[in-house]
Every structure is written in structure tokens, then in C-alpha cells.
């Protein structure tokens, strides 16, 4: 349903272009959830913005192809994108969404506004049935419709933001760190809700997170980003049980676990600057398995037919 090919998004800065998203490829089938994981600054939020074309003014390069059911989005005229795609077909729950609500409007009206602006209803009153349906879907009591954001807890406000994203029943919802600001129990409740919505509605989700433990709660597939690039893309089962890329292995090994007793390992060094990233593999400096090929940029290799990894170590298995 969603196919991203060689997507690039560079930002202009005084020191030169920042390669926030640099040649990203992946696909997402209808009804599936892809987790985009990575550490802060790896470009995962920029990827979300690139797909939704919510671009800031200092864009240096924006290229590649994004196909939604065969419809190309990158070169589509802005007005058509706004009317036909944004929010109608692809919506976003932004980071820290519980603080993104307008404090002086009733939350029900804020959801209704979405409906009215995108032309699904003429007036707020006419939008009411859709709003109520969205509230029901995200587990908000209907009497919350007339409340103000400050009257709701963080978890409930997060649900309002989710209702805004779901009210037009888009094909794809992008969730940018939807749970990172929430408490343990609130987070678990929200993840339960997202799972239920996913099972019941058949929507696709693109779930962006830095936390591999919450990633595993929703993922059908995982795309791991490092320094602006996707370095591994495979099914969740394969990713969490036996990742291929050395960075993925190190990252999985650095997650503290509650139930399993194993030593933790950190990753020495830090990610490269995205202004002038290294020419070859961007992880080479920190990689325990680097060898001479790593001075060249690795292409993606398919392993076992369905796992994609951007690392020279897997070159031999190409074509198999």
C-alpha cells in the first residue's frame, strides 16, 4: 500500500545541508504495522514529516518517491495533496501530542474541526456523529467531548490526539513516539488500545519509537534507522530474535530487560554528524565487525529472501 523509494530530505543549515533522511526504502502492506526504530537524531521523525510533506522552510533537498496505492506523493501539487491525502488518507499523531492540543478549545470541537476542514461535514454539529465514533474507538467517555484539555490527564489527552488522527478513517496513521511521555501503566493501556484498533479496523500504522521494548508491542515489521538511513528492515520476529546488522545487534543488546538476566553492553562512540557523514558505511567507526569493504557505502542486501540489511557482511548471501 505504501512504498517509499530512495526518499531524501536534507535541511539547510549554516554549516551545510543536514542529511536527515538519506535514501530510505521500504514498503508497508495494508493492515500491517511497521516500527521505525532508532536513536534520537537518526532521522525517524524527519521521515514521518517527509511522508506527510509537513516540511519546514529550510528544506535543501526533498526527493525520491512515495507511493500510496500507486499514487505518487512527492511530486503531487501541494493543494491536491492537502485536499486528498493529508489526514484523509495519511494522518499523524505528533510527538508529545498530549501537549499539542489547543488549551482554550473543547476537545470535542478540536476533533470536529478536523472533520470540517477536510470537508466531511459542514458544521461542528454535523461532525458530531463522527467525533463520537472516534471517541468510542479510542476509549474516551462521550461526556469528555465538552471538556477542555486541562481537565484531562496526559493519557486521556493522548487519546484525543489519536481521535483527531483517526476520525477521518485514514489508510495509514503515523504515530511519532506516542507513548514516550506517558507513565508505565498509561503507556500499557494506550498500547493495548492501539493493538485493539489495529486488529479491529485493519488500518496500517507507521510507529516511530526509540524504545525497542514498546516497539515489540505493535510491530509486524521493523525498520531500524541509523544516521539518516534504514540499516535493517525485516519482520519483527526476525528482528527481535536474531538481528543481522551489527548496529541492530548492539542496540538489542543494550536494552535493559526486566525478566531476562543478561549483561548489558553499550555501543562505544556516538553517531556521526549528518552534515558531512562518513563516505562508507555510517556505522563503521563504531562497528566491532568492520573490514576494508566498509570504506565503501554498502548497498542493501536481501538475506533469506525477505530480510533487507545494509551491511557488507551479508554480501555473499546476495541473490539467494
Amino acid at each position: 500500500m505504501l512504498r517509499v523509494e530512495d526518499l531524501r530530505l536534507y535541511f539547510r543549515t549554516s554549516q551545510g545541508p543536514v542529511q536527515a533522511v538519506d535514501g530510505v526504502n521500504f514498503e508497508l502492506q495494508r493492515g500491517r504495522t511497521l516500527v521505525v526504530a532508532g536513536e534520537s537524531g537518526c532521522g525517524k521523525s524527519s521521515l514521518a514529516r517527509a511522508i506527510l510533506r509537513l516540511l519546514p522552510r529550510n528544506v535543501h533537498t526533498y526527493s525520491g518517491q512515495v507511493y500510496l496505492d500507486g499514487l505518487e506523493l512527492v511530486r503531487m501539487p501541494e493543494e491536491r495533496f492537502r485536499r486528498e491525502v493529508r489526514w484523509r488518507r495519511v494522518s499523524l499523531v505528533p510527538q508529545a501530542a498530549q501537549n499539542a492540543l489547543n488549551p482554550i478549545l473543547r476537545v470535542g470541537d478540536q476533533v470536529a474541526e478536523t472533520v470540517v476542514i477536510h470537508g466531511k461535514a459542514r458544521t461542528y454539529a454535523a461532525a458530531r456523529p463522527l467525533v463520537e465514533e472516534a471517541f468510542r474507538l479510542v476509549g474516551l467517555p462521550l461526556d469528555f467531548v465538552d471538556r477542555y484539555p486541562f481537565e484531562l490527564s496526559g493519557g486521556m489527552r493522548q487519546r484525543v490526539a489519536l481521535a483527531q488522527a483517526l476520525v477521518l478513517r485514514p489508510d495509514l496513521v503515523i504515530l511519532d513516539e506516542p507513548t514516550s511521555a506517558l507513565d508505565v501503566l498509561t503507556q500499557a493501556a494506550l498500547l493495548n488500545l492501539l493493538k485493539t484498533i489495529k486488529w479491529e479496523t485493519g488500518m496500517s500504522f507507521l510507529f516511530i519509537t526509540h524504545d525497542l521494548a514498546t516497539a515489540s508491542e505493535l510491530a509486524d515489521e521493523v525498520a531500524l534507522m541509523y544516521a539518516g538511513q534504514v540499516v535493517e528492515w525485516s519482520s519483527a520476529r526476525q528482528f527481535f530474535t536474531g538481528p543481522l546488522h551489527p548496529y541492530a545487534r548492539a542496540l538489542v543488546g543494550s536494552v535493559p530487560t526486566l525478566r531476562e538476566d543478561r549483561p548489558l553492553a553499550s555501543i562505544p562512540g556516538r553517531p556521526p554528524s549528518l552534515i558531512r557523514p562518513p563516505v562508507g558505511c555510517r556505522f563503521a567507526d563504531r562497528c566491532p565487525a568492520r573490514f576494508d569493504r566498509c570504506a565503501m557505502d554498502p548497498p542493501g542486501f536481501w538475506v533469506d529472501g525477505d530480510r533487507w540489511v545494509k551491511c557488507w557482511l551479508w554480501e555473499e548471501t546476495r541473490g539467494r
Partner: protein
């Protein structure tokens, strides 16, 4: 008793809530009746969700907030008797490293500041600054001395905050969410650093966190806080294996480990949200959300701390029934 570095008895820290600056509305009971002791050289985690009072507890112990009621003995002396002396022996590691560092001071000045305040002569100061920088791994030292906080990465900033907390040679380190702002790969380094410091200096550490999964890597005991009270205290492994308070059980069940099976099932989550600290519920504060509450008991009477097994204490009425048969069935220490 002689081995306790910190003793806290019936500590309450309430904040007055006023409207228009003068009309008394009520008290926010951030810490509401907390009693515990820290043994010299142990690392204890205080775990709880936001708003449960864990940061207020830390600030009260550091003398940054005045307690409303109760007693704090640090090294056997009342904390507020000689706060300057007590603070020279306590370190504070803040949550947000960048916010905790003065942006216009160099690394050298930041680290010298506590030494100046406590009257350490100049030559001794720079010697200590160098040694503490080496200890926290900000090497080569000469490169870091003239830098400003914004020139450091998040992990390096947190190392600097730890160095500052460590520079007076404290006996007790209070670390308030020291890794919650850091990336996974850096988080491990900071946890390992704290553990190394603890071992090298026999430090007592009070580690405040919302993340139970980091606790096992260097703590000996855990306190679980809920709505201003410590509801369960136990050694780490014991708490993880055999949680006794229903809140702790809910908390453990809600924390995922990276496992692809997670996507196939829902997690059990108790309904509702933590209560308002302005008007906490009567009886046990968890009873409105508790799946196993005893009607007529949990909603009326505040549970005292029951000893479930040696060193494992929980404030839950369910344990009161087990209490009688237990000494017989578990004879011996």
C-alpha cells in the same frame, strides 16, 4: 542502626495550594508518611509513576524542600541542624543534564564551584577536578576543562553532572532519573558508571526512576511508591520474582521486554489513574483500582507495613491474613 547512613521517619512533605495567592484550598500531599533507612554502601531504587512523590522525596532528603512533618537523620544527625555540612556529603544527579549545568560556565568552573563554596584552596581544587574528570571518563581531561556544556553530547553532560555530584567525595548520591533523557546505548554507559563509582567509594545511592527494568543492573533494594507512600520494599530480585503489592504486580505486568510475541496479546492494566494527592482516597490509596481489594477493609483502613518475608515489606491488607500462619510455615530466619 549504626550502619544506617540515612534514617527517615514518618516523613511528610505537603505543598499548600492557594487560590489568588491567599485563599487556602488544600494540601498536595506529595510525600505522605514515609519511613525507611538506607544502609551504608547500598544502592536503593525508588520506583513510581510521575506524580507519586518520588522527586519530592529526593528534594526533601537533599534539603531543597522543607518537610512538613517527620524526621530525617543523616549520619545520625538531624539533616536541618547543619545543612551545609550534610550537603558536602551528599551528591545530587539531576534528571536533565543540560538544564542542570550553567550554560556560561566552563567544565572547569562548574566543577570548581562546589569546592570553592566549601573552602578548598585553589591548587587542591584543580587536582580534584582532574581526578574526578578522569574517574567519570571525560578524558583527555585537558580537552574537556575549557569546554562549555553545549559542546558536550548528552551522555558527556550527564557524566559532568555526575562528576559535580562526586567532587566533594559524598557518602550518599541521590540520582533523580539520571538516564531517562538519554538514548538506549548511552544509558547503559551511565548506569555502568554509577555502579563503578558505587563500588569504588562504597557510595550509598538512592536511584529514583520510573523504569523498573534499569533497576536490576545496580540496585540492591527497591522501594515502590504510589500516591505519596512507599507501598512495597524488597530486595531487587525478590521484588521482581515475587511482588506482593497489587500495584507492584500491575506495574511489572505492564512493562514490556523486547519480544515479538508482545504484539499478539494485550497486557493486563488496572483501570483508572493515580489519585489526586489533594484528596487521596481513604484507606489504601490503590483500592479504587485494585483487582483484589477487600470491601470494607481496604476502602476504610490505611494498611500498615506487613512483612511478607524477611526484608520484604508491603502495605497491603492481603498480607495481614497470611501473617499469622507464616512464622510457623517458614520457620527459621
Amino acid at each position: 542502626m549504626g550502619d544506617d547512613i540515612l534514617q527517615v521517619r514518618d516523613l511528610h512533605t505537603w505543598f499548600e495550594l492557594r487560590r489568588w495567592g491567599f485563599v487556602h484550598v488544600g494540601w498536595v500531599r506529595a510525600v505522605d508518611g514515609v519511613t525507611f533507612a538506607l544502609r551504608r554502601g547500598e544502592a536503593v531504587a525508588v520506583v513510581g509513576e510521575s506524580g507519586c512523590g518520588k522527586s519530592t522525596l529526593a528534594k526533601t532528603l537533599l534539603g531543597l524542600v522543607l518537610p512538613t512533618q517527620g524526621e530525617i537523620l543523616f549520619e545520625g544527625r538531624p539533616l536541618h541542624q547543619d545543612l551545609r555540612w550534610a550537603r558536602s556529603r551528599m551528591g545530587y544527579v539531576q534528571q536533565d543534564p543540560y538544564g542542570a549545568l550553567a550554560p556560561f560556565l566552563t567544565v572547569r568552573r562548574i566543577l570548581e564551584e562546589p569546592l570553592r563554596i566549601h573552602g578548598v584552596p585553589a591548587r587542591e581544587r584543580i587536582r580534584r577536578v582532574r581526578s574526578v574528570l578522569e574517574e567519570v571518563g571525560l578524558v583527555p581531561v585537558e580537552e574537556f576543562l575549557p569546554r562549555y556544556p553545549h559542546m558536550l553530547s548528552g551522555g558527556q553532560q550527564q557524566r559532568l553532572v555526575i562528576a559535580r555530584a562526586q567532587i566533594l567525595g559524598p557518602k550518599l548520591l541521590i540520582a533523580d532519573e539520571p538516564v531517562s533523557m538519554l538514548d538506549a546505548s548511552v544509558r547503559v554507559e551511565i548506569l555502568q558508571l554509577l555502579r563503578a563509582l558505587q563500588r569504588a567509594h562504597q557510595l550509598t545511592i538512592l536511584y529514583i526512576t520510573h523504569d523498573l527494568s534499569t533497576v536490576r543492573y545496580f540496585c540492591d533494594r527497591v522501594f515502590v511508591m504510589y500516591a505519596g507512600r512507599i507501598v512495597e520494599r524488597a530486595p531487587v530480585q525478590e521484588l521482581l520474582r515475587n511482588p506482593r503489592h497489587p500495584y507492584t504486580q500491575a506495574l511489572l505486568a505492564a512493562i514490556p521486554d523486547p519480544d515479538p510475541q508482545n504484539a499478539q496479546r494485550l497486557r493486563p492494566v488496572p483501570p483508572g489513574e493515580p489519585p489526586s494527592l489533594l484528596r487521596p482516597p481513604a484507606g489504601c490509596r490503590f483500592h479504587p483500582r485494585c483487582p483484589v481489594r477487600i470491601p470494607g477493609v481496604c476502602d476504610r483502613l490505611v494498611p500498615p507495613e506487613f512483612e511478607a518475608s524477611p526484608g520484604h515489606l508491603a502495605q497491603c491488607w492481603l498480607l495481614s491474613e497470611e501473617r499469622q500462619p507464616e512464622p510457623a510455615s517458614r520457620s527459621g530466619p
